[in-house]
């Protein structure tokens, strides 16, 4: 059994697997299938100051090796989370990452202030492709990334800040550096890629929102490249995600420079995905005689 524990911004994870925002709710449902205290952490469903009902249905579609979603940040609001879901997650003893989105810079500050000191990380969702106001609007240009990060950080004296980066941008290294300048303690990437699937019989997009965020195994090579670029552009830790379905994928992201990873769509394909991936990751390390997962981080060497 290799050591799987990692430490990011002074927060100890029992293993580097974090459930990705939007795929795992607040943990209660998956906890009916297995004890979620086995996983390293959870990034909650994206939360806003006020409850949101989200987009019309259908909210999901499939492509080959990928899915698209456009839920549109349906959530019960941050106050409901603090009162109802946070105590449950605290009992589970996993790292709690509160994923938050705002409609304005002020709203990002306000929601962060509510969570300061209550959770292990706040993850800024500045790259949700499925809401018209806010979300992605903050996550495209380095100037607005730096500003929204600075506003959030100023409300977070006690809780480290993770900024989730969008892949739908001109430059990942430039945007990662903008988050670092704004005061981010770490960055996570990639959020979903914006896509469209058309029902050719009806000549209409399958998703009511027309476009949706593409995730799943098919996006993994893009995500690995972007994680590598970010990890080599900033000195803060990088958390990688995008299409992870097995232990070898975890190893690949960590070799690219990720200190931890998030697992999302795989939970839909296999409800036991996270415990299985943890076991597979350990299996790979054991088979290669590696005693500590930290030894593999950022060890990829580029060809000639």
């Amino acid at each position: 059994m290799a050591n799987l524990s990692v430490n990011i911004c002074g927060v100890a994870f029992k293993n580097p697997l974090i459930a990705a925002s939007g795929t795992f709710g607040f943990g209660r449902e998956y906890n009916e299938i297995y004890d979620i205290s086995q996983i390293g952490g959870i990034s909650t469903k994206g939360m806003t100051l006020q409850p949101r009902l989200g987009n019309p249905v259908p909210r999901i579609a499939e492509g080959s090796g990928v899915i698209l979603n456009a839920v549109g940040l349906q959530n019960p609001g941050v106050d409901h989370f603090i009162k109802y879901d946070l105590p449950f997650l605290k009992e589970k003893g996993i790292v709690i990452v509160a994923n938050v989105a705002g409609k304005s810079f002020d709203e990002y500050g306000e929601i962060c202030a509510k969570l300061n000191g209550l959770v292990d990380f706040v993850e800024l969702n500045i790259s949700c492709p499925n809401v018209k106001a806010g979300g992605m609007a903050f996550g495209i240009k380095p100037e607005s990334i730096e500003k929204v990060t600075r506003v959030a950080k100023s409300s977070l004296s006690k809780t480290p800040l993770m900024v989730k980066l969008s892949p739908n941008v001109e430059s990942i290294p430039v945007n990662a550096q903008a988050a670092e300048r704004g005061g981010a303690d770490c960055v996570s990437l990639i959020n979903t890629l914006t896509g469209m699937v058309i029902d050719i019989e009806r000549r209409r997009p399958l998703i009511a929102n027309n476009t949706g965020g593409v995730s799943g195994a098919g996006i993994k090579p893009i995500a690995v490249r972007m994680v590598y670029e970010a990890a080599h552009a900033v000195s803060i830790p990088v958390i990688g995600m995008g299409g992870i379905t097995c232990g070898k994928d975890v190893i690949e992201f960590m070799m690219a420079g990720a200190k931890a990873v998030q697992v999302g769509t795989a939970n839909f394909t296999n409800a036991n995905a996270m415990p299985e991936i943890i076991a597979q990751t350990n299996g790979w390390l054991d088979a290669h005689g590696i005693k500590d997962i930290n030894e593999i981080i950022d060890t990829v060497r580029l060809n000639g």
Partner: protein, 253 residues
Amino acid sequence: MKDLTTVVKSNVKIAENIFMITLTLPESAGRIKGGQFVNLSTGDGAHLLRRPLGVMKVEGNDVSVCYQLKGEGTVKLSQAKAGDKLKILLPLGNGFDLEGKKNIAVIGGGVGIFPLIATIREHCADKKFYSYIGFRNKNAVCLTDELEKSEKLTIVTDDGGFGAKGNAVEAYLNDCDKPEPDLIIACGPPVMLKVLKQKLSERGIKTPCYVSLEERMGCGIGACLVCVCKKTDGENARVCKDGPVFNIEEVEL
């Protein structure tokens, strides 16, 4: 609720574009109520989403579900052979609650009949079912032997090619001989459920009515908030976790 690897026992065509697959579970999944569903993998790595399918029959550790060929995923599923292994998550959703009810009217349309059949099978020993079932045409008619477990069965088709011409809601409303039901259960295309709700309201019928809804799903367990429906109070409900069975008065159709 368990995520298990099942072995395909059989996978046969039962009507035009409709298949029934029977899967042997490695262990009991506990009680599965009529109206509950499973999330079944297609056995194809390119299709990441599982297919939510209403349970039609449970016999020991064998579970049968039926599905319509709609796209690449269900076509792939139809190619599964006896002995193949598929992943299944079950049982999901709430199912029909028939506690204390004796005479139940069943209104079903097309592929909506499968969870209704499971409900009839589960309770036909001690409750009476009066079933009104609509199909598009005679090629779509299936599982009549199961439907005949009802006290009374009326089958209609859109074109009159099997049974009388008409739809299931009309067939129910026009049957003057039936005893007054203490519950109506229904599953079928959205338009059928919408018409049912309108007609019950227009005619002032106060009999409680439960409907099972269908929606495109992600996780199937209530975590991802993909498969919501609108409730009459303006809130959203999760079809997979809060449903798929709802009181018809609680949901917008």
